[in-house]
Subunit: 201 residues, 2 copies
């Protein structure tokens, strides 16, 4: 079905680069095409391997998605430890970490792959849910604020919505904003979500 002929580069199952090549191709495909359109066949073609090798390494598309959709080691820890600094600049620090993730191509692909995947696939939605619940709740719980769980979810919503509008819908002028300007836009917003007022219903 693919119009691209697989360019086999002589990689064999034992080749340590094969798994990395598949991982990179899968991450890009999930981020750019979404879960349903990122087929094992297309990922194999992009990686220059036989589709059977993808199955050999990753068993299934679900498992492949789970394995390649991991944020860089340390990202969760960096977020969890942000609460150790002054509370009145927590929004600034979180904005810097978030924009750092957005500006790292691999990390951004993971982030976008999860968001696109969550729209079509309940397992991908679970992965987003677990990350928001773990990283954001840990951060909010480390602050001296009311309703930490609700603040965590609101903060996660703002980060997800910003990624969606900037990279998937590509609204302007948000899409072409440079990193420091995006930090300046997000910092007061995240300060509000983590430490500002929540109105009583």
């Amino acid at each position: 079905m693919s119009r691209t002929t697989p360019q086999r580069s002589g990689r064999r199952p034992g080749d340590p680069q094969t798994r990395r090549a598949i991982t990179a191709a899968a991450r890009q495909a999930f981020a750019r095409s979404g879960y349903d359109r990122a087929t094992i066949r297309a990922i194999a073609a992009a990686a220059g391997v036989d589709p059977a090798l993808v199955v050999h390494y990753f068993q299934s598309k679900e498992q492949l998605f789970r394995d390649v959709m991991q944020l860089p080691p340390g990202a969760a820890e960096r977020i969890a430890r942000l609460g150790e600094g002054p509370a009145d600049s927590i929004g600034q620090r979180l904005a810097e970490v978030v924009v750092g993730i957005f500006e790292n191509p691999d990390a951004r692909d993971v982030f976008l792959g999860r968001i696109r995947g969550a729209s079509a696939h309940p397992e991908a939605a679970d992965l987003v849910k677990q990350t928001v619940e773990r990283d954001m709740v840990t951060l909010a719980a480390s602050l001296d604020v009311d309703r930490p769980e609700l603040r965590a979810m609101l903060t996660g919503s703002i980060v997800i919505g910003t990624a969606f509008a900037r990279y998937i819908v590509r609204v302007e002028p948000l899409a072409s904003l440079d990193g420091p300007a995006l930090v300046g836009l997000l910092a007061p917003q995240l300060q509000q979500s983590l430490t500002g007022q929540i109105n009583q219903a």
Copy 2:
């Protein structure tokens, strides 16, 4: 391919209810399954009509998506006119309109159908983009604030992210929050995005 046998209810092309039945079925399918998984065959089955009738009325899946993914008449006008009230409660008024859309099942399906669609399909992403650019920019431009376009995009991002987290990822406690509590959570956040500080890069 569908495991559901179409339940034909005797509707004919001239039946004025047919178009409404297809519209309702399509809106639900796009909102719940996403663009790629909402097939014309499945939509026809849910509407109780022959797939050929769907094509007769709507030409293509793209056109069907565009036609059924319209917010209720008046929604855009309500948002655009929010700026006429006091600036210090604009966040509260916008939060009430947004939550009103979320709590209306048809309007929510339109909103979610667009978001899910945007993840997979550039035309759906364009539809989200046009709405954010039209409704949010009109609102922000009516306020006496700096950087109105950037505020509009940030505000749209928060609304999209909240819908995504609440209805697609279903993070708790956000997913089970009642309407008034969600208004209370969103109001200060939207007040910040529309009228609060934006830091210089």
